[in-house]
Symmetry: C3
């Protein structure tokens, strides 16, 4: 199931970890090895108190084509118990991304397809070049979506458009996802990575502990409903208000200066 | 409670069942008889392995005006136990549409009002002519929405716009629902049915079993949350990958030919 | 924790209660006293059978800047048990607004920030001037959102855009929320209040009991799912159909006249 795609992680600027799916000959297709490597990278990044943001991108002008079709075909000969190790690892990778306390910003050139689409949409913020296309074409090979594709699409778009994408496998242009608000920034071709870095730099100045709590609250909102979410937010702000980050933030605000949330970030535990 | 609207079902092309609400003198108003007939038609269609898509449309340049107002007025004289038979049948019709394993594509000319709006929005994909208007004006006759109107509107639009539609009874133009993504295709006046047929033809080439699983996954996503949806999708793809549809789809992809998912479709059970 | 913002309630036209956050020197910042006063005003308004709509606005060209930053800083010296009285009161205010049987229409000039944003988005309908900005910049002072901010934003916008607003504190222009459908009407500067009054006048002609039930159904829809929502709607319409409001509404429709839902409204209990 392994492919040649490397998962390269580099701290390209202070506080910013850039993760590159690097396997341009297969359009950065991913399988079991990549699921495990990306998950491990994200889990380890979360323990580093100096990091503030992760940028996730693909090499060679494409984000990721998802699963390798030859590997999918070979998978038919494997017992289900073996195949489930792959789908388990795949789900664990997606949950690691959503549970990562650091904001993850996706940078999409060219396109994102299949599991690559799920991975792109799992990011907290998303930058794409205008020419990029987003595709969930599992149906064209007789398969059904994975990696939370239907979850992520239904967060972003009405059911009818999600149905068109998943039942017919039709690509959606980046501009349509930008109009909906699921893509934060559209760039000219070749500009997605730099656009994502700009968002990451903004995150890098932010309060690490508060940002982690905010990400978790955003994630929990839809299933909580209003009353439970009010309670979650109250606990969140009542924890944050006594912390060092709020001390610095409130003081800076009243002193009309830029807050310094520091390379070590707030006082909280990493999650 | 009966009206003159016929529920006409015709296999107009291979694999495509067209259902027409045909009662143009009442703008295709529907009541108990139509609920039962439409539900039965959908349930029976699901057992036919040669069908791939359903197109739902209205005769005479309008989709459906929903419940007949005279019948609604007469209903006030009936005991609640009797009236509940109607609302039960109505809910069963809507659930039959959402639970139908075949993609259902709505074609709306003119407009869809009241329960007609719920019926239109319950479709998996929706085509409307540019001049069509969508109205939930129950409030204007002192009533409240039915048929899942508030569910379907909140799938597609922010709460504030749903409130305007339902509290004030204001119509929404097709272009607004298209912009949101709840209408897949806008056509010139008179073109909705042909537009819906185009989508149905695309479905007709698709893998029946996989499409049914995809529809069910799309339906389940919002209440599942991410972890449960990852599990549902994993079970879905792990079932699909061993099937005939995936066999054909993967082989065709690797052989660079168009897959033939056949008139009998995959190996799965109809649901 | 008190600020100088008054909560002024005036019946400016028949059936319409206008509530003004009036503390322009602090951009209508609000704290414990305002939470309690606004909640009490909403609860009492709900008992008045002659009211049909509430308009919520801010004095002095701004809606509300939310919590007072000096008070937030002082709060760090208070014990948590004391601070929780504030967050409890805050949550109770928001729930009072969502649970109010009357439609609440927000009128936003200038902007809404922090808890002011939550308050604006908690309204059933929202009117804003084109220049208004919506900001959830808690993160900039090392805090996390409160008042249901993350709940209300995720009702209206995809997760990625919500993340940008809450993780980076970036303002969203009124036009973007209007495009999404979370703002019902954009007006020229200075026109938001009159725009909200127009919506309130439309509500004032409506059936009080049915509108309350519709608001509750819209609120319940996302967590109910389709089957439970069909049941809720069936109970709603089966209660409404025997009532005086439906009697008048159906008769007026069949007699082709405007219904008169009267200053005392329907027969139902206030909730």
């Amino acid at each position: 199931m392994s492919t040649v795609t490397d998962i390269r992680a580099e701290e390209v600027e202070a506080g910013i970890l850039r993760i590159t799916l690097d396997g341009a000959t297969t359009r950065n297709s991913i399988g079991r090895d990549q699921y495990d490597a990306l998950r491990a990278t994200l889990i380890d990044a979360a323990t580093r108190r100096d990091l503030r943001a992760v940028v996730l991108t693909g090499a060679g002008g494409f984000f990721s084509s998802g699963g390798n079709v030859s590997a999918l075909k070979e998978g038919r000969a494997l017992p289900l118990s073996e195949v489930m190790k792959n789908t388990d690892a795949l789900g664990a990778m997606i949950l690691a991304l959503r549970n990562c306390p650091l904001p993850v910003i996706g940078a999409v050139e060219g396109g994102a397809a299949g599991l690559g689409l799920a991975l792109a949409l799992s990011c907290d913020m998303l930058v794409a070049s205008e020419a990029a296309k987003f595709t969930a074409a599992y149906v064209k090979i007789g398969l059904t979506p994975d990696g939370g594709t239907t979850h992520f699409l239904r967060e972003a778009l009405p059911r009818q458009l999600v149905s068109e994408m998943c039942l017919l496998g039709r690509p959606l242009p980046a501009a349509r996802l930008h109009q909906a608000g699921a893509i934060n920034l559209l760039t000219p071709e070749g500009g997605a990575l730099e656009g994502a870095m700009e968002l990451a730099r903004a995150c890098a100045k932010g309060p690490r502990t508060a940002m982690a709590a905010i990400k978790a609250e955003i994630e929990a909102a839809p299933l909580n409903g209003l009353a439970a979410q009010l309670d979650l937010e109250a606990r969140g702000i009542n924890t944050a208000r006594y912390g060092d980050e709020a001390g610095e933030g409130l003081a800076a605000f009243l002193e009309k200066r830029t807050p310094d949330f520091g390379p070590q970030g707030g006082e909280g535990e990493s999650r």
